[in-house]
């Protein structure tokens, strides 16, 4: 922020000085602003949209950060550190060890035991209601209320102690079960039904956020004591010792590291105990996610911001052209070049300052829209992750300052350019002659551009830095145009060099796959700018071709007029095209990705499912058995998976690089009827099935998911994990480490299998033997979805939850598609800039061409022809921009999807989303033409005599 303030002050220094000390400049600037109030307002709004987009990106980051942080309140409250104990019977001992003679830096220690359950409210007002995936936790409520010294934070303020057969539940669960205080619930665990009466319902907060149902200590032990033989297959209860640090909910987490170290030392004697700084990790995750999303939205939004900059430049150039004669006169009567610059800058600074304020406020509205849209796409059904708008005051300041700096720098640079007018040419309204100094400047700029491009290429390739490698060659090629066209005809030079830049931009991922591998959103932004700049240069260099097309098209005057102006104002037309094509390119790219992924749903499901149709999850404390399922109608075959959560890291990397990554223990039944498709496998295995068979036979083999090794949560080795690689599997509870060899890699993991190893390996390495999931093959001819619904209903007591692979994949694909839609909506703001910008340009064009329109009307050109010419002109520019954007978007997305593994190793078949593309073309085109109707009507209504202003 300090840097932004300093830059802003530098940009403002001269305008502020002139505002106070130079009355002539002040008068010129203010009167020029007020001269055309509506257009001044539109200039401010155009610049404000860019600021709004930037501010909204920051606000989105704030909101995600804050929303995730809120989980610290709802799920943790006073809990800062958690000690997980595998053997719940050791909870009391572990707690004693933790407390010892006192634990410095803490203000509370609480122990609890919990089990997963399913719960039913049989007498719910509308009929029986159930929550298959719940849990009961036992702790002493009186003790828990004082945990951390702040009862409100625990969620238990005002809650009375409970007795046997009673429970306190959270609002979230009460809503699901439609339960009230006094209602009787039935909990299923270890094959038993436990009746519990609700004595209190608490907000979803603090201790009650994670403990959905609280029962009196001893309840779980009692259930286990009377459990049947099936309990041996169920997951045993787990114990936890919770620690509250000194301080509040958020600041208390700061001292966690030292306390964790101390607690680790104190519990060293116990096996199966894991200590973690839960809240600190959560806050770090929140900050990382907030920053990541802020970066993503800023990156995507930067396309719109660049479009806004192009609009500003265009408007300033038009302003300058409109005032060319008077500027020439001002120069003639003694105003120096820098005076002209300063009067323009003063005017620009006024627009920039106003737009910064308006944009920052508008950013709140845009941010709110994004948060609402995101909420509808990603919000947790349970309401655990509740996205809410969060605005930090500094965010508004930074957003406004960034917008001001962008508009201010644009105003400065444009003012410098337009003040370089030739006095005589300006007064006589002739084109500026090419002076020796201008030629020299262009030579210097060309040489500097080529040198910079080469330098960036060398650095980008050597280090490697993807963004530098992306921008280096195009900068050199496009800069070389000014140099080579001194000796050769400009048009072919532009076509060749811009063509090379275009080809490079579209194929760089294939040309330099390794160097481009780590490219982030900024690479995509630069790629968009490179491609559109090159394409616009090519299209504008083809003006002769368009001219011939007009002639060949016949005699109609409207199209001639429509094309003549854009083709004779190539700089301005180029800016407009760039503005449009950049945003359309990004929209097309995202739409093509969306279409491709959405279209792959059935393929993803088939590749993942192997020989099964669905997975069935159940309550670990009251699991569904294979035998239970095999006896059900419609079930042809069942395979069981034991699921664990080890930590994985590539062999040879330090322990801190380990990341939690699920693993599924499979058995022979898993292989019946097919296996999840492998994208890569060790050449030693002749088929995918052979690779899975090898995994079953050898506990040291593992099949991993393609995202392991990427940036998506798995251990990052700096490159993809490949068959033959060695991984270290670490049991977080026992800290035992095992070396595993990668036998193969599979693609999209939409049901979170994680990695595959044999059930024997999972039991050996992680000591997990109870079934976590079952895979079910439905009998031929039956509808898998119907069977899934039937199974879910039949196994309510076991917390049964059956879901077909198709549904699971579709759910993920739809969420992804929803996010793409959000991105498109966000980009729509850039399109708004383009549409509004073109409308403003046409409004100004009407004024600029008033005399010419008058002359045309005098010669008998009808009003409809004038109107048609204006509509066709804006349509022509928009259509060109749209075609460039769509073509580049399709080529780039095709290139990335078919030739790059940026989206995983799966073979994706590129799908052209025709309907969406039609909308991408039609909506902006119609909007542009609609927005030009008013200026076109105004042009058509110009009275020739008035426009010609023939002085008597």
């Amino acid at each position: 922020m300090v840097i932004l303030i300093v830059i802003s002050l530098i940009l403002l220094a001269v305008p502020l000085h002139d505002l106070v000390r130079r009355p002539t400049f002040r008068r010129l600037a203010i009167r020029n602003v007020l001269r055309r109030k509506t257009e001044a307002a539109i200039v401010v709004l155009g610049a404000a949209l860019g600021t709004a987009i930037i501010t909204a990106a920051f606000i989105t980051g704030n909101s995600f950060d804050q929303s995730i942080r809120n989980i610290a309140k709802t799920d943790l409250g006073p809990i800062d550190i958690g000690v997980e104990i595998e053997d719940a019977t050791e909870v009391a001992q572990v707690r004693d060890a933790v407390v010892g003679d006192g634990l410095p830096g803490t203000d509370g220690v609480l122990s609890s035991v919990s089990i997963g359950t399913s719960v039913v409210h049989p007498d719910a007002p509308g009929g029986q209601r159930a929550e298959p995936q719940s849990r009961i936790t036992e702790f002493d409520i009186d003790e828990a209320r004082d945990f951390g010294g702040r009862p409100d934070d625990t969620g238990l303020a005002g809650v009375e102690a409970i007795g046997e057969g009673e429970t306190v539940i959270v609002q979230r669960l009460a809503r699901t079960l439609d339960a009230e205080v006094g209602d009787q619930l039935t909990v299923f665990a270890y094959g038993q039904e436990i009746p519990l009466t609700v004595t209190a319902i608490t907000p979803t907060r603090g201790l009650m956020g994670s403990a959905e149902m609280v029962v009196v200590p001893g309840t779980i032990e009692g259930v286990l004591a009377t459990a049947g033989p099936g309990a041996a297959d169920a997951r045993p209860p787990s114990g936890t010792v919770l620690i509250s640090n000194n301080g509040g909910i958020f600041d208390g987490a700061n001292g966690s590291d030292a306390i964790v170290d101390e607690v680790v030392d104190r519990v060293e004697a116990f096996d199966g105990v894991e200590v973690g700084p839960w809240k600190q990790e959560l806050i770090e995750d929140a900050e990382a996610t907030g920053t990541e999303l802020s970066t993503l939205f800023t990156g995507i939004g930067s396309f719109s911001v660049i479009a806004g900059i192009l609009l500003l430049v265009n408007l300033f150039v038009m302003l300058a052209e409109e005032r060319k004669t008077e500027m020439g006169m001002l120069r003639a009567v003694g105003l120096k070049r820098n005076h002209l610059t300063r009067s323009f800058v003063l005017e620009g600074a006024a627009y920039a300052a106003l737009s910064a304020v308006v944009g920052a406020i508008g950013g709140i509205a845009v941010g709110w829209g994004i948060v609402q849209a995101t909420q509808s796409i990603f919000a947790d059904d349970d309401g655990v992750l509740d996205f809410t708008l969060a605005i930090r005051p500094e965010t508004l300041v930074v957003g406004g300052l960034v917008g001001f700096v962008i508009a201010g720098v644009t105003a400065w640079l444009t003012s410098l350019r337009i003040s370089g007018l030739n006095i005589i040419s300006a007064i006589r309204d002739l084109p500026n002659p090419r002076s020796a100094s201008r030629r020299l400047r262009s030579l210097v700029a060309g040489v500097a551009g080529v040198a910079l491009g080469v330098l960036l290429t060398v650095i980008g390739y050597g280090n490697p830095v993807a963004v530098l490698l992306m921008m280096g060659p195009p900068i050199a090629l496009l800069s070389a145009i000014t140099l080579i066209s001194r000796f050769l005809p400009r048009r072919p030079v532009v076509l060749v060099l811009a063509g090379l830049a275009l080809v490079y931009g579209a194929t760089v991922f294939q040309v330099f796959p390794e160097q481009m591998e780590d490219g982030d959103i900024e690479v995509f932004v630069v790629m968009g700018v490179v491609l559109t700049a090159a394409a616009v240069a090519i299209v504008t260099a083809l003006d002769k071709f368009w001219g011939r097309m007009i002639s060949a098209s016949g005699g109609a005057l409207a199209p001639r007029l429509a094309l003549a102006y854009p083709l004779n104002r190539l700089f301005r037309t180029g800016l407009l095209l760039g503005m449009f094509s950049l945003v359309i390119f990004t929209m097309t790219f995202i739409t093509a990705l969306d279409g491709t992924f959405s279209g792959q749903g059935p393929t993803f499901a088939r590749d993942l499912a192997g020989g099964y149709d669905m997975q069935v999850r159940s309550n670990p404390a009251n699991p569904i058995t294979v035998e239970d399922l095999e006896g059900q109608p419609g079930v042809e075959r069942v395979a069981t998976i034991q699921r664990g959560f080890p930590e994985l890291r590539p062999a040879g990397t330090p322990e801190e690089d380990s990341e939690g990554w699920a693993i599924a223990g499979i058995n022979d039944a898993f292989l019946e009827g097919g296996v999840p498709l492998l994208t890569e496998r060790d050449p030693a295995y002749g088929s995918d099935v052979a690779a899975y068979e090898a995994v079953l036979a050898d506990p040291s083999l593992i099949i991993v998911n393609t995202f392991l090794g990427g940036d998506d949560g798995g251990p990052d080795s700096g490159s993809d994990i490949e068959p033959g690689d060695q991984l270290i599997l670490r049991d977080p509870v026992s800290a035992r480490e095992t070396e595993m060899t990668v036998a193969g890699v599979y693609g999209g993991d939409f049901v979170f299998f994680g990695s595959f190893a044999s059930a024997e390996a999972v039991q050996t390495h992680l000591d997990i033997s109870f079934p976590s999931r079952h895979l079910v093959k439905v009998a031929d001819g039956l509808d898998a979805q119907e069977v899934a619904a039937d199974l879910t209903g039949r196994f309510i007591a076991n917390g049964g939850d059956a879901e077909t692979f198709t549904d699971a994949v579709n759910e993920e694909v739809q969420a992804q598609s929803g996010f793409f839609s959000l991105m498109r909506g966000y980009l729509g703001l850039g399109l708004l800039i383009g549409i509004a910008g073109l409308a403003v340009v046409m409004v100004r064009a009407v004024r600029e061409r008033r005399r010419q329109i008058g002359m045309l009307r005098a010669m008998g050109v009808t009003s409809p022809t004038v109107r048609g010419a204006f509509l066709a002109e804006s349509g022509f520019i928009a259509l060109q921009g749209i075609i460039i954007g769509v073509a580049l978007g399709l080529v780039t997305s095709w290139s990335v999807i078919t030739s790059s593994d940026s989206f995983g190793d799966e073979e994706l078949s590129f799908t052209v989303p025709w309907l969406a593309l039609v909308l991408i073309v039609a909506i902006p085109l119609v909007a542009v033409i609609a927005s030009t109707v008013v200026p076109a009507m105004r042009a058509a209504s110009i009275r020739p005599a008035a426009a010609l202003r023939i002085a008597d």
Binding site: G554, L856, T862, I950, D952
Partner: protein, 270 residues
């Protein structure tokens, strides 16, 4: 029909100093022939034009009666701000009038709808202005083609005719140049070619040499003279007496009325 002499008398108290001497002589002139050049192709009666500018109205034309004969070379003169250009605009159909009638070849042009009057202008009127008013994004030949294209000619026919016309004005080799690549005199020649190309009934030229140096102006006037000699009806608005003296007929406009309508010989006596 009201006589010109009556009108002259009614405005004689408002003469400007520059033209007072001429005005005094005008009063003494007999009413001239209304259409010295032949049968009138334009006949204006009682034309009034009022500019409404906020709080007060300005009567720019006060019931003007005027006939223009076919093949005539008529010069319109008068002090600045007295209605010369307004007269041109109203008679040519560029501007609306508040009262009166203007018949061109028997058709009343101000009772026509805008579209029809526009078509009428395209077919029957040509214009040359002081500031050329060429379309800057079109080449010279493309500018000349415009009236033909408006009139419905095919692109090919328009191109041939436009090239011929540019040849006639001596710019056959400059057809591909844009207006900014031409000198002032060349631009005005293009404008004249554009005004003539559709063979209009009347060509209206408003200060056609106002932006030109004397040498170039002379060349343009010669060109216009040749055009008239070829039978073209020409109305030239000018404030230059030497140009006014070249016409067959001189119309003096003063305070929105015709102060004199007769041979330009009076300029020689001024």
């Amino acid at each position: 029909m009201k006589t010109q002499a009556t009108r002259v008398g009614s405005v004689s108290d408002h003469r400007s100093t520059a033209d007072s001497e001429l005005g005094a002589k005008v009063v003494s002139q007999p009413a001239p022939s209304p259409h010295a050049g032949g049968q009138p192709i334009l006949s204006a009666r009682g034309v009034r034009k009022i500019y409404r500018t906020g709080s007060h109205d300005v009567e720019a034309l006060r019931g003007v009666d005027l006939d223009i004969g076919a093949g005539e070379l008529m010069m319109v003169m008068g002090p600045s701000g007295n209605g010369k250009t307004t007269l041109l605009n109203c008679l040519s159909g560029l501007d609306e009038i508040d009262e009166g009638t203007v018949h061109v070849d028997g058709e009343e042009i101000h009772s026509m709808a805008d579209a029809k009057r526009t078509q009428h202008r395209a077919e029957r009127m040509g214009f040359v202005f002081q500031s050329f008013n060429l379309i800057p994004v079109f080449s010279a030949i493309e500018n000349v083609e415009i009236p033909l294209l408006v009139g419905g000619a095919t692109a090919k026919v328009a191109r041939v005719k436009a090239r011929d016309m540019l040849d006639r004005v001596g710019l056959g080799d400059r057809g591909g140049h844009r207006p900014t690549e031409l000198s002032g005199g060349e631009q005005q020649r293009v404008a004249i070619a554009r005004a003539l190309v559709s063979e209009p009934a009347i060509v209206w030229a408003d200060e056609p040499t106002g932006n030109l140096d004397s040498h170039t102006a002379e060349a343009v006037l010669e060109l216009l003279g040749e055009v008239h000699d070829a039978g073209q009806t020409l109305v030239i608005v000018t404030h230059d007496r030497s140009i006014g003296a070249r016409g067959q007929r001189l119309v003096q406009v003063r305070d929105g009325s015709i102060a004199y309508d007769g041979p330009p010989t009076i300029l020689e006596n001024a």
